[in-house]
């Protein structure tokens, strides 16, 4: 049986604010003590620059950093650690993909981007399309908020469709896509698939080989790890074909004015001193997460989410956006004439933290016909009391504002 109190105790911030009800986990999760300890221990015992130094600390730092790459590879079940590239976050990872894999595309090629995407999985492709004379095909969603698979099939059948950009789970409405089936469809048409896993990794098991995706990205800070670290997984076959993007130290083999040779993959994609301590923190978070009973964590989150949506449906005037069969433990809400910002202010006054706005998914908000929503997103340290309190304050607030 999952012991939420014991789990929650591992998070110093939540202990620091005992009254806080943190329901903004899709924006960023809080960090367990072991992650903070790992970063601090790295700086206290192993800090040096990686890969180049001829001294024992440099060896320790390099081992810590490359060890983190191995940990990420195991977490994603990548075939090799070489397929893991560290970035600042999912956004930089997607920019990396657009600037490297994107260079394999030719003028007139088409990129399919779903309407569910976070701006981070749309704007880099748009910028690429402008530079390389490519077209973006906006892939629609169904009434329940899932990818329109019929339209996807139509798009994939187009001769110039080369790349599909899709999220594993929507940050704004929580829909979980059947990525394995989508990657299968994509592969049959020789179309590459880039999966934004930013919202999925903290909640769902991810196996990039089973999913069959060519690219998978995520941010550390949404999976209990520090900010400033993210991951791009690129399948080796693709990795060997792509050019570097940022130039600088670390990514080269030899440099001369007459010409520069780049490092072998994945080194050629990591220019400059990498975020070493953050990679160590990420590895600590993923190791810690792997030690948890993840099925129990997910079951706990799912039960809380059921409690939340049952409660929301009982409050007059609440509209829940996104009714996908498979949803993350998050709910996007509007309240008729009552503005989500106002509701959030009254929740905040009771120390309940939620997110309001377009959630960096304006095309999706346009498709839903709304300009702003309030998002409640759960993590495994949330409790049934958190949900009950949120529902009670929400009901009172709406009563008062109506």
């Amino acid at each position: 049986m999952f012991d939420v109190a014991a789990f929650k105790q591992q998070f110093p911030l939540l202990g620091h604010y005992p009254e806080l009800i943190y329901l903004d986990n899709a924006a960023t999760t809080q960090k367990p003590r072991c992650v903070l300890d790992a970063e601090r221990a790295y700086y206290e015992t192993s800090n040096a620059n990686v890969h180049r130094g001829a001294h024992r600390l440099a060896v320790a730092a390099t081992e810590a950093y490359e060890g983190a790459r191995d940990t990420v590879a195991r977490f994603l079940n990548a075939a090799s650690s070489d397929e893991i590239i560290f970035t600042r976050g999912a956004t930089e990872a997607l920019n990396l993909l657009a600037n490297t894999v994107g260079m394999l595309l030719s003028p007139g090629d088409e990129i399919i981007v779903s309407t569910l995407e976070h701006h981070a999985n749309l704007v880099p492709w748009q910028m690429l399309a402008e530079r390389r004379q490519l077209s973006i095909l906006p892939l629609g969603i169904t009434a329940s908020g899932e990818i329109d698979l019929a339209e996807l099939a139509t798009f994939l059948a187009r001769p110039r469709a080369r790349l599909l950009a899709i999220s594993h789970a929507s940050n704004a409405i929580g829909s979980i896509q059947d990525i394995q089936a989508i990657c299968d469809m994509s592969r049959q048409h020789n179309c590459l698939t880039a999966v934004d896993g930013a919202q999925a990794v903290a909640h769902l098991p991810v196996d990039v080989q089973a999913l069959g995706c060519d690219m998978y990205v995520f941010s550390g800070h949404k999976v209990y790890a520090p900010t400033g670290i993210g991951v791009a997984y690129i399948h080796n076959k693709l990795l060997q074909r792509i050019p570097p993007w940022q130039g600088g130290g670390e990514m080269i083999e030899t440099v001369a004015f007459s010409g520069t040779r780049y490092a072998t993959p994945p080194g050629h994609l990591e220019a400059g001193t990498p975020p070493i301590a953050q990679a160590v923190g990420l590895a600590a978070a993923l190791t810690w997460l792997a030690q948890q009973d993840r099925a129990a964590l997910l079951a706990h989150e799912t039960a809380l989410h059921q409690q939340l949506e049952d409660g929301l449906r009982a409050i007059p005037g609440v509209v829940i956006h996104g009714q996908a069969a498979h949803k993350l433990s998050l709910s996007a809400l509007t309240f008729g004439h009552v503005h989500p910002y106002d509701v959030a202010q009254f929740l905040d006054a009771q120390q309940i933290a939620v997110r309001v706005g377009h959630h960096c998914a304006q095309p999706l908000q346009q498709a839903l016909g709304i300009t702003s929503s309030l998002r409640i997103s759960l993590a495994a340290y949330n409790t049934a009391d958190d949900v009950a309190r949120c529902l009670a304050v929400l009901a009172d607030t709406l009563d008062m504002l109506n």
Partner: protein, 145 residues
């Protein structure tokens, strides 16, 4: 010219900043201040849809804010504003109290942010992406230059 129906509010004329400061200071908790802002919003007229045009929309707010400003014949700045958020509209009532119906040379140096901070309401400034309060005040001051 700003339609008179949009100017039918007490802020800056019968309600002064001194009065509002006293009321806000008496509302001790965040909750009480939020409630007060909602009450203040009810004294600002809701704009008919035809006045909510793109040219008077203030960008930089997650709620929608519309603002019109003009100089009247007697040398006063007239300001009218509306928002689809009650809290933001309550904040607009504070802004209007500082800027509406003031002599054209009077309010250039008013430290609205300092005034809010003194009320313990700086959270409405730091969370500026949410309510756009800074953008609203900047819009008013820029239009007056």
């Amino acid at each position: 010219m700003i339609p008179t129906e949009l100017l039918a509010h007490p802020f800056g004329q019968t309600i002064t900043l001194t009065q509002l400061a006293a009321t806000l200071d008496a509302a001790a908790s965040w909750e009480a201040k939020n409630r007060l802002l909602v009450q203040l919003s009810r004294q600002l007229p809701d704009w008919p849809a035809e006045y909510k045009t793109a040219d008077c929309k203030v960008s930089g707010c997650e709620s929608q804010v519309w603002l019109r400003q003009d100089r009247s014949a007697d040398g006063h700045w007239q300001v009218a504003a509306d928002s689809d958020s009650r809290i933001v509209k309550g904040l607009l009532a504070l802004v209007l109290t500082a800027y509406h119906h003031q002599p054209t040379n009077a309010v250039q140096t008013f430290d609205f942010e300092g005034w809010l901070q003194a009320r313990g309401m700086q959270r409405f400034l730091t969370a500026s992406r949410g309510n756009g309060l800074r953008a609203i005040v900047q819009t008013i001051e820029k239009q007056r230059q």
